[in-house]
Amino acid sequence: MNCAELKELAPLYAAGALDAQERAAVEAHLAEAGPHQGCQEAMAEAQLTAAALARSLPPVRPDERVWAGIAAKLEGGAPRARRQLPGWLPWAIAAAAGLAAVVFGLDRNRLAGERDRSNRALTEAQAKLDRNQGDVARAEAAAQLEHARCNELVGQARELRVLEQQALALLERPGTKVVPLGPAGAHSNRASAIVNAELHRAYVLATALAPQAGKDYELWVIHGKAAPEPAGFLKELGSGVTVGEIDARLLAATPDALAVSLEPAGGRPTPTDVLMVGRI
């Protein structure tokens, strides 16, 4: 098999349509030292397309036992997905009940002793039951929180999609400029701003800005020598790209520069850690 033949067969290989002999020939060619003429790339693209076929199916949440089965076979164990509710409770109750049954027919002293022990076991079981109910209540509260968070995320995603479309639409308008934002100080981040001075609208698009816990990427508008004014925040689009809209009220007069800084969550009135600046 040569490279041209492999590239011809790559889509069929990834789709799983080749017979065993052909599959082996493809794999043998890929394993050859080369030089190759785009074999790996062709195969990677075909595999990505095949993965998209799998992603066309609605994902299914696995039962927790699926991960438990995996974790049990990992050498050295593995972290648990989430805290399990106690499974010992039925056993504790059964043990207490069994204890109570055994005391019947025994002598009075022994009966009293067994009764006391039985009562203690029942008391302990009751206490464990109370704790278990507390766990259930907490689990329910967590589920409600999760549900609310899910709704919030869906809302945020819709909002971001709108923002992205608005930014792209602005690019098509006459008079729109794309302004690069270069790194400030020792930082290496870069971004771009889409600015239309006539329409008083501007968006900042950045790549490779990883979300940071407890921090926000804040936007700033700079007019002349006046202090920078807070102009909004960058939001993650979900694909490693972040986007933010500059507060239109600050664009009534064309600004001289735009900037992005990293601030504690919620932002600050003046920038503390400026990452990027771009002159308009």
Binding site: A17, L168, S192, L205, T207
Partner: protein, 212 residues
């Protein structure tokens, strides 16, 4: 890293932004994949859990589609993740994403089971007798993931029916081109062409819309 500022000099900026975003996202995903596989290869079980949280829903959906059996599909997903765990050191980023690798393993194992089931002459009725559990959406499946699925579904809809049918029979039913040709009474060369065209067209549509 591609700079979005480069679009200032091009004629179709909106399309370019989307294209650049796709490239940026792809580069970032590759970086994340490499980091994740590095942790897996060092025996970091938390990394496997991260991969599981992100991908088990897709893997289980695929295994269940192929096997039409919830219990067997769960076993296949377990096997697939354990194989990733054991073979993380052999992963080659140049051959595709971690997701593609995991789903390939999942599919291969599911198809192996399907064939083994067929060779043991268990009838399709036996398999179908197990009620197929209804899909349960992941609670944290973000709108972006749903958009991804809808985008792929829309791309699949653009394929001619005979190409899509051939692709389905190969990918989800595990039939080779020869078996599809025999089953459908279509010349082998035609089946090969249909599958190749379907894959190429799907790739082109998905790349145009922001990457597969």
């Amino acid at each position: 890293m591609v700079e979005i500022a480069q679009l200032a000099s091009v004629r179709h900026p909106a399309a370019t932004v989307i294209f650049l975003m796709a490239r940026v996202a792809s580069a970032l995903a590759a970086t994340r994949d490499a980091e994740l596989l590095g942790r897996l290869a060092r025996g970091d079980a938390a990394a496997l859990r991260s991969l599981y949280d992100a991908q088990a829903g897709h893997a289980l959906a695929l295994a269940r589609r192929i096997l039409r059996s919830g219990a067997e599909a769960e076993e296949v997903v377990q096997e697939a993740f354990l194989e990733v765990w054991k073979r993380a050191g052999q992963y080659q980023a140049s051959r595709g994403s971690v997701q593609a690798w995991l789903l390939t393993i999942t599919r291969t194992r599911a198809i192996d089971r399907l064939r083994s089931r067929q060779s043991a002459q268990r009838t399709a009725d036996d398999a179908a007798s197990e009620p197929e559990p209804a899909p349960v959406p992941l609670p944290l499946e973000l709108a972006a993931q749903r958009q991804d699925r809808e985008r792929i579904a829309a791309a699949l809809q653009t394929l001619p029916a005979d190409q899509r049918a051939a692709l389905d029979l190969a990918y989800f039913e595990g039939l080779t081109h020869s078996e599809i040709a025999a089953r459908t009474g279509t010349p082998l060369g035609t089946i090969k062409t249909r599958i190749r065209l379907a894959m190429e067209k799907l790739a082109a549509v998905l790349v145009d819309e922001g990457g597969p």
